[in-house]
């Protein structure tokens, strides 16, 4: 462990452990924060940052470990307790109510009231003072929050934290929703706050931001603190990335048989663009090849996949499957041409949760199995049972509601859907999201088996080791552009991380 210079801490977390059924999310995290600093929390996806801030916000109870505030041990049994201790959390999805005014939002849940009547004038006066403190006097107390920009909403969220006398404010990727001018504003506010002795725990993937406003850095990896209290000024990017990466991945990736040179191109994407989200994306996937898109949340990688699939209507470029150009913005056209998508949000985008497994498996193909509009449920059951056996779906019973299956088995059912449909191109968005460690290797092996059978696979993941381990060819996406393309064996995690983190500063 690397340790920097310790100062009298305001908040101290020691040996925090958090178990979930079947997984250890945190396995001994240490973090200490001094008053008036911007303490940056770095780590890859799955390193445990979200779990840690949820422990701090009172949303999760730690299995072991101690939290001290001003040297005194505290417990945070629920979110209100966190606020009472002066710890406020700003999540990525800002928790403001659009239909209420600025003042109403700030005092939501702790309204200034006497005898049941809200004291609007007093709330307005205090809101003005808070906004002045934050350097945004132009945001008036009676403005409706829904009319504010994302940056304005952030200021309201911060004002709310201050109205609760917060001493520690956790900011989870606050810049992700802002454009560059707004980021400057955010940093000004952060400086105001720290000047008043408030400590900020700042989570961001963007190294340039950390360099601009951070004081010290704590690095998490695999649920553990691997770098502690590193001064921002004297720690090199190289060192940070080294700490964040590492080779102890617990799951095995299948072998790459190598794609033959003469394998036909199945999917060709040429100059694809979608408004401001991404532009000029070109790629090809050959039969039997797995191409991986690596990039941060918000880099446009999921949107690229959804646009290829027709779920979003491209504003530029073409998608060609086996030489036939697909109609823009039509999922039905993509599916009937032979493209399948296993979406990122399986429950909300992929499954009909109350329907039995077999109907979820045949959701894309029941109409084709039907005869003149009459369902052939016997064929549907048979096809589903075959896939359940082939993919080792557990439990094997296809009559059961799919809601009752584990994440890994739900994902297998999604794959089974496209196997039954028989598609040539498979798009996988975060294929192991919500899948426990044991089932991951199985999913990887399945995807490789599909590729070996001639399917072209395009996979998106925010976990870089997953992309590197699974794919044959890796494309790095940053800020809506493909910034690099290389065979998976010729690029390592370090380089990819460097590209996605530094790429955004361009």
């Amino acid at each position: 462990m690397v340790t920097g210079d310790p100062t009298a801490p305001l908040l101290e977390m020691q040996g925090i452990v958090k178990h979930f059924p079947g997984a250890k999310a945190l396995d001994g995290v240490d973090l200490d924060v001094v008053p008036g600093e911007v303490h940056c929390l770095l780590g890859q996806n799955g390193a445990g940052k979200s779990t840690l801030i949820k422990v701090l916000a009172g949303a999760h109870q730690p299995t072991a470990g101690t939290i001290r505030l001003d040297g005194e041990q505290i417990r945070i049994p629920h979110p209100v307790a966190a606020l009472e201790h002066g710890i406020a959390t700003m999540y990525q999805e800002l928790d403001v109510v659009d239909g209420l005014t600025v003042a109403e939002n700030i005092y939501l849940g702790h309204e200034l009231a006497s005898a049941g009547f809200t004291q609007r004038r007093q709330a307005a006066a205090r809101t003005r003072r808070l906004m002045e403190r934050l350097g945004h006097p132009e945001i008036g107390p009676h403005q409706e929050v829904g009319a504010l920009s994302a940056a304005g909403k952030q200021v309201v969220s911060m004002a709310r934290a201050l109205s609760r006398d917060a001493r520690v404010i956790v900011m989870d990727e606050p810049s992700a929703v802002l454009d560059s001018g707004e980021v400057d504003n955010l940093f000004r506010v952060v400086e105001e706050l720290t000047a008043q002795g408030i400590a900020i725990i700042y989570i961001s993937h963007r190294l340039e931001e950390i360099r601009r406003i951070g004081d010290r850095i704590t690095v998490l990896k695999d649920g553990m603190t691997v770098g502690r209290n590193l001064p921002v000024a004297s720690t090199s990017t190289d060192e940070l990335i080294k700490l964040m990466t590492g080779k102890d991945v617990e799951y095995a990736f299948p072998e790459r048989p190598g794609v033959p040179q003469d394998a036909p191109v199945r999917l060709e994407v040429d100059g694809l663009g979608l408004g401001d989200t991404f532009r000029d994306v070109s790629l090809t996937v050959r039969a039997g090849e797995i191409v991986g898109l690596a990039g941060l949340v918000g880099s446009g990688r999921s949107e690229i996949l959804e646009t290829v699939y027709g779920a979003r209507r491209a504003t530029a470029g073409t998608v060609t499957l086996d030489g036939r150009t697909l109609r823009r913005g039509s999922v039905a056209a993509a599916v009937s041409a032979g493209i399948g998508l296993a979406p990122e949000e399986r429950k909300s985008q992929g499954l009909v949760l109350d329907e039995p497994v077999y109907r979820n498996v045949t959701l894309a193909s029941f109409a084709r199995m039907a005869r003149a509009g009459w369902l052939d449920e016997r064929a549907e059951r048979k096809a589903s049972q075959e896939q359940a056996a082939a993919l080792d779906l557990r439990p094997r019973d296809v009559e059961r509601s799919i809601r009752t299956l584990s994440g890994g088995n739900q994902q297998k059912a999604m794959l089974a859907r496209w196997l039954v449909h028989g598609c040539d191109v498979l798009l996988l968005d975060e294929p192991t999201r919500g899948v426990d460690v044991g089932a991951r290797s199985e999913i990887y092996a399945l995807v490789r088996r599909l590729a070996d059978a001639g399917t072209a696979v395009l996979v998106v993941s925010s976990e870089i080791p997953e992309v590197l381990g699974l794919a044959d060819q890796v494309l790095v996406v940053s800020d809506g552009r493909v910034v690099h393309s290389a065979p998976a064996q010729e690029i390592d995690e370090h380089q990819v991380l460097d590209l996605v983190m530094e790429g955004t500063s361009a």
């Binding site: 999922v331 009909v352 109350d354 039907a370 009459w374 094997r396 019973d397």
Partner: protein, 342 residues
């Protein structure tokens, strides 16, 4: 889907579970219908005790079924709309419009020249077009169903008043009136039509791709879209279907009353929705049952009949109906929670 479907293949696992499934049978799909039938039986028992001969006679049974038929046909269409996650508030006034349109001077003149069936087809066509307009606004205009069909409720009623000039339009064709007075095998023709529509609805919902799409869209519209189902087009068809049933109901109403008027079907959309929901179709979509809807319609009609036989005021009837709706939905939610926790 609620009705028991084909017997599952007899592999080892389903056999094993067959034994343990028995206690949870009542909360299962079949059990919900059993519960409904029990409720219906209970009301009948009360009817026999309080009404005696006046309730428990073949004649009274036919009266009840005849009354249930028109609203029942509306409720079958409504079952599809609600199963898909939507709502149609316009079916009552669209039905009123179809009765008016089918009895205009022009339509009747044409029917006189050709055949009285022209009136039936006119009603069905007018209903379908109104439904397709609803569907197009909802699916392609992305206006929520509640508002779209509320607007149709108002405009269809208004249009009916404009066309009829608020006059009652008598059916001129004797053949038409005679047809709707037929009683094959002693059962009124209206009841036969209701039965036919119900059976067709059952097959459509449970055995066809149309029904599967309806359930899938109601269960998860986004997942259905991403699986390649044309959600917008299907939504259009579903509201078209609801309009078609409103047209059929309109023709039946003409047969029953021998007159078209803009006041036909006032508030019937609410009765249809109540019957569907009491029958066990989930108001949020994703699960629908035709059998439940039919029993739901019968529950309300028999109840009204029992009240009427006992000379209870219509106001008291309304209170009782309201209580039944709430009780049914409370029960539904308990079952829904239980099935999610297992």
């Amino acid at each position: 889907m609620t009705e028991p479907t084909a017997v599952p293949p007899a592999d080892m696992e389903t056999k094993k579970e067959g034994r343990t499934r028995l206690p949870s049978l009542l909360s299962g799909p079949a059990g919900r219908n059993v519960g409904l039938v029990l409720a219906l039986a209970l009301i009948c028992v009360v009817g026999v005790i309080t009404g005696g001969e006046r309730f428990a006679s073949i004649d009274n049974l036919m009266v009840v079924l005849r009354l249930a038929s028109v609203i029942g046909v509306l409720a079958i269409g409504m079952t599809f709309v609600i199963t898909s996650g939507g709502i149609d508030l316009s079916v009552g006034s669209v039905m009123g419009l179809t009765t008016v349109w089918a009895t205009t001077w022009a339509t009747q003149a044409m029917a006189d020249d050709l055949h009285w069936v022209v009136m039936v087809f006119t009603a069905m066509a007018v209903g379908t077009v109104a439904g397709l307009v609803n569907g197009a606004i909802i699916a392609y205009g992305r206006v929520v169903p509640f508002i779209t069909t509320l607007a149709m409720l108002a405009s269809a009623r208004g249009l009916a008043e404009m066309i009829s000039n608020r006059q009652t339009q008598r059916v001129q064709s004797d053949a038409f009136i005679e047809f709707f007075r037929l009683e094959p095998l002693g059962v009124p023709i209206l009841v036969w039509i209701f039965a036919a529509v119900s059976v067709a609805g059952w097959f459509l919902l449970n055995r066809t791709t149309f029904g599967r799409r309806t359930v899938a869209i109601g269960g998860n519209a986004e997942a259905s879209r991403l699986a390649g189902i044309k959600v917008q087009r299907h939504t259009l068809y579903i509201y078209g279907l609801a309009g078609l049933t409103a047209g059929i109901a309109g023709a039946m109403m003409l047969g029953r009353t021998t007159a078209g008027t803009s006041t036909h079907g006032m508030l019937w959309e609410l009765e249809a929705i109540a019957a569907v929901v009491v029958g066990g179709t989930l108001l949020i979509g994703g699960r629908g049952t035709i059998v439940g809807t039919v029993v739901g319609v019968l529950i309300f009609t028999v109840l009204t009949n029992v009240f009427t036989i006992n000379n209870m005021s219509t106001s008291a009837q309304l209170v009782a109906k309201g209580a039944i709706i709430v009780a049914a939905v409370l029960l539904q939610q308990r079952f829904a929670n239980r099935s999610k926790s297992t």
